[in-house]
Amino acid sequence: MPTDDIVIRPPQLADEVAVLDAWHACFARLDPAARLEASAWRRRWSEHPLGWQAQAAFAADGTCLAHFGGLGFRWRTPEGGLRRGWLVVDSFARMEARGGLGKRGWLARCCERFIAESMSREQRDYAHGFPVPRAWELGRRVMRYEFADEVRVWTASSEALQPWPTPLEARSAVLDERIARLDAMVYARTARIERSAAHLAWRLPADAQCVEVRAQDGGLRGFAAWRTTTFLGEPHLVLLDWVVDVADALAQGALLAAARNAVRTQGATRVAVWGSPRDPHAALWWRLGLRLRALENVQACFVPHDAHEARRVASELYLSFLDTDLA
């Protein structure tokens, strides 16, 4: 492939068709049923309220050869500071643009440009992703990915969701800034990706169900979001987010009752929660009978020029499925 005319630059709106063509060329090889509509692409990227950064390689005729990008997030440090991060998704290259035998591929070059242009060394920007094994191996070899952890989930038969008696009741949630405030309180002094009403509205899929538990004064005591989807080959109720004080048993009971009801009406046979044994809610999942299971995906991370920092941040962050692209 002649490389003189290939340029790497951030994709523009006008490149959407070319980028989507490349996406389909790559992912249809792995899964012939893989389809991504332009509207979904636009929602994921250009409509993301916290912004995005991407670099793509284009041939002279406008063909997109490779794309590497990150969706923005802000995360609170345990000390209460706010830092910038990127969730790496949609990183791919056409077969003919891949490297090998010492030749650098265009995906690696896009990644390099992304790091140079979008990740501030001074501000210690952080990026992570949850690649499948093949993408991880490539990322480790040519894109400075660091290994943070296996991806693990708490999972059980949906019968495990047994609520306990509580006078409180969960109702359909209003996505507003109370959720961010509650999250900041529940996860105080821990590293956590910041919630905001705009981010939640953008991130939560159309089929997600969001519930909240209110205090008598109207304040928020609990928030949860889930969706029923095929996960690990079975219909799962996947808990996307679970924001409630670990000591607030009454609010937890109300959220569990709502989740239990969703299982009944939506036909999920199993339940899955993002799995970290360090999560403050781990004791709850354990008590309910959920068990930890490791997946093939890897949690990869990087901070420019500081692998140690990348791994430290990755090990400190309390994640939910909401913070990933896995459900």
């Binding site: 094994p133 191996e137 296996e150 970290s276 068990r291 930890l292 299971r293 490791a294």
Partner: protein, 330 residues
């Protein structure tokens, strides 16, 4: 002052022992422990490279190479042990470089598909980045230990039906154990051979640590499973570890019986916690959770340096089987 690199075989053992004691003070290693650590050459052998300066060992990098299985074939796995720089060079600009130089020479000499194909270990966090950057360490998983808090009145579950009761047998018929290991070797893609000969070296002949081995038999006398117990304060004080888990996936009754017995032994010994380490992507991880051992983040990463081009990272992550008995934590 010039540095000379020598294999452990070329080195006066007293020089190595003196450097080891200096590096790990106040811990010291007795002559009996050195003799055991060096192994018999077949089941286990200590291989390493030492940096010698002015007649003294100032750094070393080593593995204990052991027989193993890899996808049904025989291989050797090396547990990285006894790697250090002595206090006289520690903290100097060249200390890390010295350790890396020893490691590079060690892997060049003792690493290979036909020698020791896989070198694994759980490096401390101060060393791991160095190993990843310069010695080809591949992190496979952040280990999750499984633990159970013990009450004072643990008793063996009575409802489990296996042919016999749990027996305490540190020594056992070699053939019976080897038959058990052969079953396990078919389930474990990549593992150190925990056969009778290895167990004799690692457990029975260990000079300073006391182990208990519990076995369950079928009615016809065949072993249905075994565990090795040892005291360990690596992660938690007053802990008894299920240091080895030798229970085939189909032997669920034996698993329950052995964990129940381990619980009872641990409680009787005054331990507050029973703890186990098995791969997260193994059936044993699920079984032990079913038997009420809870997951807990260990903060330690299992790393490997592979010299077998037929075995990819994915195979290693899914298939490398280790227990605490594969470490120096028990």
């Amino acid at each position: 002052m010039s540095i000379e690199f020598r294999t452990f075989d070329e080195l006066d053992p007293k020089l190595l022992a003196a450097a080891y004691d200096a590096a790990f003070a106040p811990r010291t290693r007795t002559a009996a422990a050195w003799s055991h650590a060096r192994g018999d050459g077949a089941v286990a052998r200590l291989e390493g490279i030492a940096a010698v300066q002015a007649g003294r060992v100032v750094a070393a990098y080593a593995s204990c190479s052991m027989r193993g299985v890899c996808q049904g074939n025989f291989t050797r796995l090396g547990q990285v042990v006894d790697s250090f720089v002595t206090p006289e060079v520690r903290g100097t600009l060249g200390a890390a470089r010295l350790l890396v130089q020893c490691g590079e020479r060690h892997f060049a000499r003792h690493g290979g598909a036909d020698t020791t194909a896989f070198h694994y270990g759980w490096p401390i966090e101060a060393v791991r980045p160095l190993g990843e950057a310069h010695l080809g360490y591949l992190p496979l998983r952040r280990e999750v230990v499984l633990y159970s808090e013990l009450s004072g009145s643990e008793s063996c579950p009575g409802e489990v039906q296996v042919g016999g009761d749990v027996e305490e047998r540190l020594s056992d018929g070699q053939a019976a154990h080897d038959e058990l290991w052969e079953r396990l070797a078919r389930e474990r893609a990549i593992a150190v051979s925990h056969d009778a000969a290895w167990l004799r070296w690692r457990v029975r002949e260990h000079p300073h640590t006391s182990y208990e081995r519990l076995v369950v038999r079928h009615a016809d006398g065949r072993l249905a499973g075994a565990v090795v117990l040892a005291a360990s304060d690596a992660w938690h004080p007053r802990t008894i570890a299920i240091a080895d888990w030798l229970v085939p996936e189909t032997e669920s009754s034996a698993a329950a019986l052995l964990v129940g017995a381990a619980r009872a032994r641990a409680a009787a010994a005054g331990a507050k916690v029973l703890l186990a380490l098995v791969p997260t992507r193994s059936a044993a991880f699920d079984v032990l959770q079913q038997l009420q051992l809870k997951p807990h983040d260990s903060g330690r990463y299992l790393c490997v340096r592979s010299f077998d081009p037929r075995v990819g990272e994915r195979d290693l992550r899914a298939g490398l089987w280790t227990t605490m008995l594969d470490s120096d934590l028990v």
